[in-house]
Subunit: 308 residues, 2 copies
């Protein structure tokens, strides 16, 4: 095992007091299908990413005056917020096509933003340069055991709230959230089937599982801005290839429809990526299904248009 | 004391397992003002009303095959849902101007709906008739100690999450939620100032406090459909006149603006009544302020228009 339940339990202790114990929202979708939605959209900063950021930054200790990160959005907010609360500086490399709302929030938390092109590889390289120049550690968005351990604490809470899930649906981008959550389910609820969810246009993990090795796809054209990573993380892949039983692909139309559904039925606001797991449950779920609602940071204009 | 913390603690034990332990969402609004929002909008049925309904129906026991209730919306859903889960029939008297979404949900839970005119007095009379005819107990929307004790359990949880509140803001319609919550604060956090919130057009409690006796206002013209009661409850008034320090009035524009603000900052969907306490905190709050977000059942078309 590359990541253990002990790592997750330690992370859970470490970040307690810094993150919200989000609720599990139970809803009977139809006869024979009940969803248990772990609403990380309600997390501080509106996304699960704060769990991993706090876990890694607390584990690192105060070895430098600042940290560097690269992200299209929610990880950027997470590192900026955790740095502010821990009294550290933060330098965040963001793509030029990041949602304005997510950029603004990073600025509001006092972080320095460095803007690069839309490619995720480009921002990774720039962040590594900045980290080396300043001597500030890099807090990676997903491809690190401390990040995945932090994200997996959401699954520990979900399992405590809903101990008899038949299936667990979780979005996969770089794979850190899934690697952590899958580790939790494998240890604490081994009978639960672990199912990944990706947008149709960003099916790199689905293709990688089919090929038996990491595949890189073209820059995904999807409204799910948090799921536009082009290839699984090198490390997260080693966990997820063992623990994820299959991947469901969802369309942008399904994401829009699920944002409306969640607004009416669960009274939560989801960003497109945050609706992915729930969209998959609505289409093909059976029995008791966990769904990880990963984030809720959506521009009001987009939300209004989707609800209209 | 007409209602005691022992009544509330008993209610809390009774309804545990039937209702959601909703989260308290913390957000720094500005320097020197942090809100602790008790998100009852995320409660099953999307409103705090399920707490009081379960408390009274569980306390009554299985003395009849059904129950009767009258409500403009959320209390109707609460009684219909609790009846379904407890294996009872439910007959709900609703006004002709109740939001379609709220009507539909009551039907979905299998309750019988009897439609009357928009006046709250008319539906109360009709419900009492039906209760007498069928021998089914009436579950009143607010004016009963068992209902108020159930609603007050929300404040017990809020105080556990945020034990050092300077102020607590809570909407007042018939006054059951406030009577229960005020009783909790008086016992568990006596230094917290207890502040009621009403719509400008439905200021019956504000006028009653000024007059020293219950005042009846004209049918309130406000988007806050949950706060259109015309006079304080006879029993709730006896509690609230002692414990509520003052009432803040909010405009429909402030409610709309706060629905948008909550969508972006807290990622929750609020109905107009559910935004009232938060609107008051945003305008005049200082220090650490609790706000009870009472409900999240809003028609998608109205929400889309407000967010646009």
């Amino acid at each position: 095992m590359l990541l253990t339940i002990d790592d997750l339990n330690l992370a859970h202790q470490r970040i307690a007091g810094h993150v919200l114990r989000t609720p599990t929202l139970r809803h009977e979708i139809r006869d024979g299908l009940t969803v248990y939605a772990k609403a990380e959209s309600l997390q501080t900063i509106g996304a699960f990413k704060i769990r991993g950021a706090f876990n890694m930054m607390l584990a690192l200790g105060a070895e430098a005056e600042g940290v560097v990160a690269h992200s299209s959005g929610n990880h950027a907010q997470a590192v900026a917020r955790a740095a502010r609360e821990l009294g550290l500086k933060a330098c965040i490399v963001m793509p030029s096509n990041a949602p304005e709302l997510k950029r603004q929030r990073v600025e509001d938390d006092g972080a320095e933003i460095v803007t690069v092109g839309p490619d995720s590889e480009e921002r990774r390289v720039r962040a590594e340069e900045l980290s080396a120049q300043r001597g500030w550690p890099l807090v990676p968005p997903y491809d690190h055991p401390l990040i995945a351990a932090g994200q997996g604490t959401a699954a520990i809470e979900l399992i405590a709230d809903a101990p008899t899930l038949d299936r667990f649906y979780c979005p996969i981008s770089g794979g850190g959230l899934m690697a952590g959550c899958a580790t939790a389910f494998a240890a604490l609820s081994p009978r639960t089937q672990i199912i990944g969810v990706e947008p149709l246009a960003g099916d790199d993990t689905a293709r990688s599982l089919a090929a038996g090795d990491r595949v890189t796809v073209a820059a995904p054209d999807t409204i799910a801005d948090g799921l536009r990573v082009r290839t699984p993380g090198a490390w997260t892949w080693t966990v997820n290839r063992e623990l994820v039983s299959r991947v469901v692909l969802v369309s942008d139309d399904e994401l829009r429809d699920t944002i409306c559904w969640a607004a009416q039925r669960l009274r939560v606001i989801l960003e497109p990526s945050g609706a992915a797991a729930l969209a998959a449950v609505r289409r093909e779920g059976e029995g008791a299904c966990g769904a990880l609602l990963s984030g809720g940071n959506i521009d009001p204009a987009m939300l209004s248009a989707i609800l209209a």
